[in-house]
Amino acid sequence: MSAENNQSCGSGCGCHGDKPSEPSNLFDRRTILKGAGATLGVTAFAKALAPITEWTKDISVDEFLQKHYKELNKSELAAVIKRMEKETKENYGREVNISAPKPQKGVKFGYALNLSVCNGCRKCAEACHIENNHDRASGNSYIRVLEMSKGSMDMEHGSADYQHPVPQEDKFYMPVQCQQCDNPPCVDVCPVEATWKEDDGIVVVDYNWCIGCRYCEAACPYHARRFNWEKPQIPAEEINPNQSYLSNRIRPQGVMEKCTFCLHRTREGQMPACLEACPTGARVFGNMLDPNSDIRKVLETKRVFVLKEELGTKPSFFYFFD
């Protein structure tokens, strides 16, 4: 081992002589060229990353340091909402009112859909698009209506982008949106707990906590989640100003979103926008814990089924034929 001491760098590594730890002449050509190259490289790198500084101008320090929704106390939440309303006015040109309704006690929301009367008009999807301030460019909606062949529940052969008059003779129509599962796979996989299930059954997303990894989108078996691939664009006059923190406020770029059963409406006693837009009356919504509600009647008297029951997600969205 002492022989190795003379060439302490081992064989073939390119250092010269037996005192490699001595610095070579600081002004030899190689060092100067290396220094020049390094400076050029660092400058080029800084210039290459310049677009990020443009983007960080849009993000305030408050937004960067904002805590998780569940950890905000009343005054902090009020300050956050005030900031958001101001930012919406600056970015989108509209005065909006962002609420933060809490789940009511003794309420567990359920939704049922009568497949015998749904005619595939997609007015529910359109109402969702308008109510939830979706990006106009992508024509996004939380609801996808599948056109299915009668006699089969094979969703792989259902088509969601049909463009012909409805209803077709040999087809039935099945709108699919977030099922607000009781055992949601999306909640389990989120690495930062940005999505969770509230006490009234609605699975929500804190848009200011989500890091945009899209694991929940991969985990959802119902294709219920949507990602903001770019900054949402909505004309000021089309914005729905009745917003809430956890549901339909205008989402930032790079975060996940999903159907929230219009909690800004349903927690105040109204119906979701999709139900109100449905012309056939196929949709039934309500509090499953209230024995007199419509949804309870449906669950007790109709033969309801859920999608992908074998996955054990326990949806709160029920389908039935009448």
């Binding site: 081992m1 073939g12 940005a194 906590w209 945009g212 990602f227 975060v255 996940m256 996955l311």
Partner: protein, 266 residues
């Protein structure tokens, strides 16, 4: 403890370690003109990539062409493959320590360095795939919300960073001892090598669990996915190392024994 082992106190290391780092930096920026040409080319590619990522962060991930139907694309596909490379690379280490194959010792460090480089690439891929990289701090335990043990991604964060630290320690220790001209103390690296071998299996298994736990993805939702990932990793990793060794043989004067390439680890 043999007589030739010198005991250094902390003060010695505080002054010597920076010297080691300076020498390492000098050596890895030294080479022939072809080395400089290659490094310049790689740097240009890196800068173009950094610029592209900066545009992605500013304008949104729509520039990647991904959509809601297939929300994970080339970033995560490459991440998964390179985790496999990292795991498989360490497999070359097994013959050196378990079968006491002399030739393999020189190539052990190549395997370890491949593991380090691969894990750094994996971490960069994951960050590049985030929609909001500015919110990275949300994933830190105690400061943010770290959804461990429920979320598989948190397990992945732990095992990947742990693997990086173990391999950094092994390589750093061996190279530092070489710099000092002293024989490495086997207590400081052999347990870590064995830990690294076992940990290599865990990193790819956890990555497989990311996919196999998803009920909504029947192609992945099988217990077979983890063994399948490991099998392909143990092919890809050593294959990459064999290619690297052949290149090193032809382009540098570092001797590579035939035994390293001809005796497959498994």
């Amino acid at each position: 403890m043999s007589e030739e082992e010198t005991h250094h106190d902390a003060k010695f290391h505080v002054t010597t370690y920076p010297k080691f780092l300076k020498l390492a930096l000098r050596l890895c920026t030294q080479g022939s003109w072809s080395f400089y040409a290659w490094m310049t080319f790689l740097s240009c590619v890196t800068i173009v990539g950094a610029n592209a990522w900066a545009f992605q962060v500013r304008d949104g991930m729509i520039g990647t062409g991904m959509s809601d139907h297939v929300s994970w694309g080339l970033y995560i596909a490459n991440f998964t493959f390179i985790v496999g490379l990292a795991a498989g690379g360490v497999m070359m280490v097994i013959p050196a320590y378990l079968y006491k194959n002399k030739d393999m010792h020189d190539t052990v460090i190549i395997g370890e360095l491949l593991a380090i480089a691969s894990i750094v690439m994996c971490l960069m891929f994951v960050i590049a795939d985030l929609g909001r990289p500015d919110r990275f701090w949300h994933m830190l335990p105690f400061v943010g919300k770290f959804n461990w043990p429920v979320s598989m991604l948190t397990w992945d964060v732990i095992v990947l960073n742990g693997y990086l630290l173990i391999n950094l320690h092994i390589c750093g220790y061996l190279l530092y001892k070489r710099f000092l001209g002293e024989k490495p103390d086997s207590r400081w690296y052999v347990p870590f090598v064995f830990m690294s071998i076992a940990w290599a299996i865990s990193i790819h298994t956890v990555t497989a669990f990311l996919y196999s736990g998803l009920g909504g993805r029947p192609f992945w939702n099988t217990a077979l996915l983890a063994p399948r990932f490991l099998t392909t990793a143990f092919c890809a990793g050593p294959a990459f190392i064999i290619l690297v060794l052949q290149i090193i043989r032809r382009m540098t004067s570092m001797p590579i024994g035939e035994g390293s390439i001809n005796s497959p680890p498994i």
